[in-house]
């Protein structure tokens, strides 16, 4: 995406500026005769209380579902609006106040987005915490407490069993009175699976009945929306509500998915919701997308507790046009969201995320070798996951598997729950697993993973325990972790993309953390038992604290996440904001860079770009390079054997002809030429505007009949008096359509489409119109050049 004020610098180009000045696009003001039910100039439209129940009147200048917006038109409309407000502000004091309010409305929207996203994230975290524990037992004193909260004030907790207390009982103990034994185990197992199935069944039913757009991760669709695509209802109120509610259910059911991607979708829904309060954003699709970019940053910020990482994620992964003004506002929204979440305080210790670690033990140069190995693992796993997941999703899309979404969710949940319960590392929630893996083992830990053989005479402070030999608990934990690794790798492939809200960050980090911890323990034990080898001799003295397996887990998590999503800077910043340690930037960068190189060697696209390709969205990636030597004539339509271009003439077409043209073809717009003989280009008119204008004219204007002439010139053509009244449609004509000549190389054409966000571009030769190139043609051509299936591009 574009950080640079590329838009500004390009549009400051003199030629383009003159084009925009010539562009007398009057689409801001309504057509004559259209009822003014939709005020366009007022800031807070005063309407009746029940007006939100009315169907929104389709305006000239709005877009159809599943179509691309016209970025240049949106920008010029915004400039017009701003110019009008500035000129009016000199008239009176009240107008000055209104102009100030208009300037500040952007910041108000950011504040509201931050508040609501933070609140929703806090609610989601608290509810997930409680419902995850509900699968295993219930708190008798107050049913709304999770396991940890229930035992918060109890004095029965022991060193070995930190969470034991009489108020919280497992289901078997509650129902039968026995806490131990085979019967209790089987009953607990059975009820765990039952609760998991219930949660996921509720989630998929709610999604299916109320908001089908609430399924999936959301990030591929938001990337497409931010690049200019319209998906109506994707960021609506019902989608917001259902996504929040079902996300809690989906995560609590124990499935191998995370909540970060869906939180970005939730935050963007909040952004869309608040955009509708101000007409500056609700009526301009370009400005709305600036707000949505900032909302995406707020979403990642509350998911990870990383405001800066969130802004960089929005910049790098999600946004398409990102002017500098948006950078500052995104940061504001992310900070407000993080602050709101912190004040709700879901985890009881003023931390934003469950796995915030705080150790500062140093790392050594020689450790870069295992870190790079972890990077290679991350890249390989990323490639494997992307290919397997896309193959499975394609199978779901094309075969019978896609006809049974509810059954599929239930089956996958059942398998996950049945296989996850026996292994203590998969039974608990993935966030807790990652938290334990990131943790360093001091003397105060009593988990199985920290079962090292302690020297009983040791009296060091807690942070500087030297390397110790592993006890039996550690070896036990190692093979359990290895099984968990294999399980997670396999099951996540089938989980991501199901018809419930599902994110990808936490499962990838879990896979990487498990692999990293295993490698870390291996290196640690090797350093302890073979401290006289050359590699270890220089750096690791016996009795010193050399290796921190928790750091390896962090590096592994970063590597796997980078391998799947191909994030670079944002990944490193998120990871070091998670850990609070600037000293670990170099290992994290080494792993992230290695994993990206390895993964890019097998395929250029990350998981989100692959899903965009699978769905056929019209997304023109800024990273793709077009290096072929084709010309505009090779791509333009009509081709040699196609019917000629459907055009309108400036003053000889009748209303009947226009309606026939609209009915017989499904093109999105028509060029307007002087006459069919000369074919000199006047402008371009959109299909939607034409349809609405003609329908309105037929109803509201007198004397307009089927044989009335439609004219696009300033003055009416000279007609005999017996002819019916002509219809002037100059107002909907775009007088400055983009044109290229037929010998323009496609490289330049692709660049223009990408940088200006065009939908179509006309091809001329010596001033005469030859053909048209649309965004879909460009995407199909690029796919063809890369030997992919050009027919997979579905939308325009």
């Amino acid at each position: 995406s574009f950080v640079l004020n590329y838009q500004n610098s390009f549009l400051n180009n003199h030629a383009l500026q003159s084009l925009l000045v010539l562009n007398s696009l009057p689409v801001c003001s309504p057509l004559p005769g259209v009822s003014s039910a939709t005020p366009t100039e007022e800031m807070n439209g005063a309407g009746n209380l029940m007006d939100f129940l009315d169907e929104p009147f389709p305006d000239v200048g709005t877009y159809e579902d599943f179509h691309t917006i016209d970025w240049l038109r949106e920008k010029s409309r915004d400039t017009d609006r701003h110019r009008k407000i500035t000129s009016k502000s000199k008239e009176s004091f009240w107008e000055l106040i209104k102009s100030l309010l208009d300037a500040w409305s952007g910041w108000v929207v950011m504040l509201l987005i931050g508040l609501l996203s933070g609140t929703l994230a806090g609610v989601i975290d608290l509810a997930v915490d409680w419902m995850t524990d509900l699968k295993e037992g219930v708190c008798l004193s107050a049913f709304w407490y999770s396991h940890e909260q229930c035992c918060w004030t109890s004095n029965e907790t022991t060193f070995d069993d930190r969470d034991k207390c009489p108020q919280w009982q497992k289901w078997a103990e509650l129902m039968t009175g026995h806490a131990e034994g085979a019967g209790a185990y089987v009953l607990n197992y059975f009820l765990y699976v039952l609760w998991a199935l219930l949660f996921s069944f509720l989630a998929v039913s709610l999604v299916r009945v109320f908001a089908p757009y609430a399924c999936g991760s959301g990030i591929p669709e938001i990337k497409t929306i931010l690049s200019g695509f319209i998906i109506r209802g994707y960021l609506g109120k019902w989608t917001l509500l259902i996504k929040t509610v079902t996300l809690v259910l989906a995560v609590s059911s124990g499935l191998s998915l995370g909540k970060e991607g869906p939180l970005v979708h939730v935050a963007c829904c909040c952004g869309n919701l608040f955009c509708s309060l101000f007409s500056k954003y609700s009526k301009n699709e370009g400005k709305r997308r600036e707000v949505l970019s900032a909302a995406a940053a707020a979403g990642v910020s509350v998911a990870f507790g990383a405001p800066i990482g969130g802004v960089l994620f929005s910049l790098e992964e999600v946004s398409y046009y990102f002017p500098l003004k948006t950078l500052w506002r995104s940061f504001f929204a992310a900070l407000v969201a993080a602050f709101t979440l912190r004040s709700i305080n879901p985890f009881g210790n003023s931390r934003l995320v469950l796995f915030y670690v705080e150790y500062h033990t140093p790392w050594y140069m020689a450790e870069l070798v295992p870190f790079i190995l972890l990077g290679v693992f991350g890249g390989l796993w990323g490639t494997l996951f992307i290919r397997a997941n896309i193959a499975w999703c394609r199978r779901r899309k094309t075969t019978q598997l896609g006809k049974y979404p509810v059954l599929e969710v239930i089956a996958v949940t059942g398998i996950t729950a049945v296989l996850a319960f026996p292994n203590p590392y998969t039974r608990r929630s993935t966030s807790e697993l990652i938290s334990e893996l990131f943790n360093d083992c001091g003397a105060l830990e009593s988990s199985q993973l920290c079962d090292y053989i302690n020297n009983p005479n040791m009296s060091r402070p807690v942070d500087d325990i030297p390397d110790r030999p592993a006890g039996p608990g550690v070896y036990n934990a190692l093979w359990q972790l290895a099984l968990a690794l294999v399980f997670k790798i396999v099951i996540t492939i089938f989980t991501f993309g199901m018809k419930i809200p599902s994110g990808l960050f936490i499962p990838s980090m879990a896979v990487g953390a498990i692999a990293g911890r295993i490698v870390g323990i291996a290196v640690e034990q090797m350093a302890y038992h073979h401290h006289d080898w050359i590699i270890f001799k220089n750096w690791c003295r016996p009795g010193a604290d050399c290796v921190t397996p928790g750091l390896y887990a962090m590096v592994g998590a970063a590597a796997c996440l980078g391998g799947v999503t191909r994030m670079t800077v944002s990944l490193v910043v998120i990871m070091f904001e998670l850990t609070g340690g600037l000293e670990y930037i170099v290992p994290l960068m080494a792993a992230a860079v290695t994993s990206k190189w390895v993964a890019d060697a097998f395929g250029k696209e990350g998981i989100y770009e692959s899903h965009i390709q699978l769905n056929g969205y019209p997304y023109l990636d800024v990273r793709d390079e077009f290096t072929h030597r084709t010309l505009a004539t090779d791509v333009m339509r009509p081709r040699r054997n196609d019917p000629p271009l459907a055009v309108l003439t400036q003053d000889t077409t009748t209303v009947e002809d226009v309606e026939a043209l609209i009915k017989d073809t499904d093109y999105n717009g028509f060029p307007v030429v002087v006459s069919r003989e000369s074919e000199r280009l006047i402008g371009f008119v959109q299909r939607r505007d034409l349809t609405l204008a003609i329908k309105t004219a037929r109803q509201k204007q007198d004397g307009v009949v089927s044989s009335s002439v439609v004219y696009f010139t300033e003055d009416a053509p000279q007609l005999p008096a017996s002819n019916p009244q002509p219809l002037k449609l100059r107002r909907i004509l775009n007088l400055s359509p983009f044109t290229v000549t037929d010998h323009t190389p496609m490289e330049t054409v692709v660049d223009i489409f990408r940088k200006l966000g065009l939908r179509q571009c006309l091809v001329t030769r010596s001033g005469r119109l030859l053909g048209i190139i649309t965004k879909k043609d460009v995407l199909r051509h690029m796919a063809q050049m890369m030997n992919q299936d050009p027919e997979s591009i579905m939308f325009n």
């Binding site: 439209g45 309407g47 029940m50 129940l53 169907e55 389709p58 159809e64 608290l126 509810a127 409680w130 709304w144 407490y145 909260q149 918060w152 004030t153 907790t157 022991t158 060193f159 070995d160 930190r162 509720l202 039913s205 709610l206 009945v209 109320f210 908001a211 089908p212 757009y213 399924c215 669709e221 998906i231 109506r232 019902w238 509500l241 509610v245 809690v248 509708s276 309060l277 709700i344 305080n345 009881g348 210790n349 394609r394 779901r396 094309t398 896609g402 105060l444 009983p456 009296s459 402070p461 807690v462 018809k499 699978l614 769905n615 939607r688 349809t691 609405l692 329908k695 309105t696 579905m794």
Partner: protein, 187 residues
Amino acid sequence: MKSVFLLEALFLACFVLLNQVTAKNSEDIRCKCICPPYREFPGQIYKQNVSLKDCNCLHVVEPMPVEGKDVEAYCLRCECKYEERSSGTIKVTIIMYLSILGLLLLYMVYLTLLEPILKRRLFGHSQLIQNDDDVGDQQPFANAHNVLSRSHSRPNMLNKVEHAQQRWRRQVQEQRKSVFDRHVVLS
């Protein structure tokens, strides 16, 4: 304008409610000290509801298992952390979430099971029999046509709510077709 006002009122109400239930409970703060095994004494966890300034080993570890000079050595190994939570927030959040979930489930049961039965009984007696299985109109301007030709009879609130609900259900039907049946988006 009205929607801004409604939203502000909603926020204020939530805030007031939260403030009332999140009054500082003395049970909501604690100091937790974890002491590892020392010589023959096993590891122990001590908790007390003290404030931040009293959160150290000497105040919280009671009864102290060692005496005299060993107290310092014992306390050096212990780690004390001050923690705070808001039990009122947790209670309000969970109960609110469960009630919203319950309402949605009831509405879902009504939509999927009860309404077809009721419709079959009331067939012909009301105006809102729309064909729910309408194939989504692919014409570019289906809704414009409806809007422009809509009759303005009985513009009272009940009619508006019914129309809004019908429109919403048509939208959800379209979405369901795109996502679940034709697999056009979100596959």
